[in-house]
């Protein structure tokens, strides 16, 4: 199969994630969209790795998965902390800092 299609799919995933971050207001959904963007990068890495013919891209993708997991853990932790303070879980309502 041609590598082009993998790259097109990854571009679609990346744009979906970016759009989701811009349009959705719940921090949970935004975290999901961030995952989508990172995984679009992973898909591109794996596809290019096959095209180029060495394993560096595959190794990179596995490492990125670990990092993405760390990021989500921190994000969820922050969401729990915000929830405990009974603050609104909506990024448009978190507006103490502005100006």
């Amino acid at each position: 199969m041609n590598t082009d299609w993998f790259v097109v799919l990854s571009a679609l995933l990346f744009s979906t994630g970016a759009l989701g971050i811009l349009l959705r207001r719940s921090p949970m959904v935004i975290l999901l969209c961030l995952e989508l963007m990172l995984n679009a990068g992973n898909l591109a890495l794996v596809a290019f790795s096959r095209m180029v013919g060495n394993a560096q891209g595959q190794v990179f993708a596995v490492i990125v998965m670990v990092i993405a997991a760390c990021e989500v853990v921190v994000g969820l932790g922050l969401i729990v902390a915000i929830f405990r303070r009974r603050l609104p879980l909506d990024v448009d309502d978190l507006r103490e800092l502005r100006g």
């Binding site: 971050i21 990068g41 932790g77 969401i79």
Partner: protein, 501 residues
Amino acid sequence: MSFNEPHIDYAGISPLIALTVGLCVVLLSAVFRPLRRTAPLLTMVALGATAGLLVWQWDDPKTLITGALRLDDLAISISLIAILTAAFCVLLSLRERATEEAGSGEYHALLLGSVLGMTMLAQATNLVTFFVALETLSIPLYILCATNLRREGSLESGLKYLIVGSIGSATLLYGMAFLYGGTGSTNFAGIAHGIARSGLDGDPLILIGIAMAAVGLAFKTSIAPFHQWTPDVYQGAPTPITSFMAVATKAAAFAVFLRFFDVALGSQLDSWQPALAALAAISILVGNVGALGQDSLKRLMGWSGVAQAGYMLGSVVVASEAGTSALVFYLAAYAFMNLAAFAVIVARERETVFGDDIRGVRGLGAERPLLAWPLTISMLALAGLPATTGFIGKLYLIEALVEGDYTWLAVFIAVGTMISLAYYLRVVAAMWMRPEGERAAGARPAIAGASPEADPVDPEAGRRWSLAGPALLAAAATVFFGIVPQPLVDFAEHAGRSLFG
């Protein structure tokens, strides 16, 4: 089949080992009751040991872990700036509310984790180490921003930083994937070689990769138009963390900016130079205009940081030895100037009920000259007045830009400096010109109405050595290296030579 043991240069990776061991020890110190108070001390020991190991390897460049890291003078100088900033941050964090809320051990362990990421990032010469180091630096910072759990703004800044920072990382990763696809290597040297070998000049894969990597790095270094998070996060985070973030993150991110663009993408100079120059110009304008009329000192420092990032990006644009030296000099100067200012802001936050508002420093000149002088020197140095490191740094930058045929960007720096005088001098004026009585009269009603969320007022904070000491030290360094710049210039030129020599 025989086993070939890999060659491990333990001396080269010893700074990273020292930081990792320090991190584990500090984290464990939180578990043992008698050791609970020692976390700041242990952190200082770890930072000192790392700095010693780095200085030991000064002027002895080596490539580590099969080309994934390169420990040269650029990496060492940037790591030393990050370690100095972290040491200041530990001092400013003594008696800080956020430290108690999060637990002293955890707080300092996260700080060390972030320094570990910075030290690694300054050495990274491979896309994988680059990305891993960047995240090792960022993820602890997201948590540290939110450590003042009782303040809504702190949690909000943590979440904002996490979201925006992760968008930056994801964009950077996507750009890296394309660079790998185009050249077939994750190594910086391999990428440069791949571009040269296959004649990929102007290849769409490479161009997309360069553009997305530049955007991702611009998010991290708070370069306009990717800066919107900066003032909010700076204001919401606990102030010692803001000072660390402002200086050390910028230093480490600019080090990798230099290495990535000048080493891996050096042959593609024509395609990225105009783009980065435009970003620098936009950043200088947006940062300086945004800082006008800010009443929160931390927001003001945030906007000023955007403008300063624009100045520094100029030295990446010219891609020369002079540019690299100028950048390292400016980063060192920036560290001193910012640390002096933030130490005073922390002191006033604890002494008054105004928090980081500009009202908090009114009449400071008459009331507390020992705090007023460091802030005055820092503001004047940031504005680039002579006899301070800020002036020498800007001179050095402008010289590098003119040499590299980017005179118009040098003009932008000069214009930006003029605009910046308006808001830096406003702080100085507030300190020295307002009468004492006005401030005291305004303070009383606010105390009565203080919310339970507000931090307790400690009227003696500015007299404690842990705040006055760093402020005076950083201010003294700002003036000293402004009058006798030679030692700092030598330091910066070593770094410049290591990348281009």
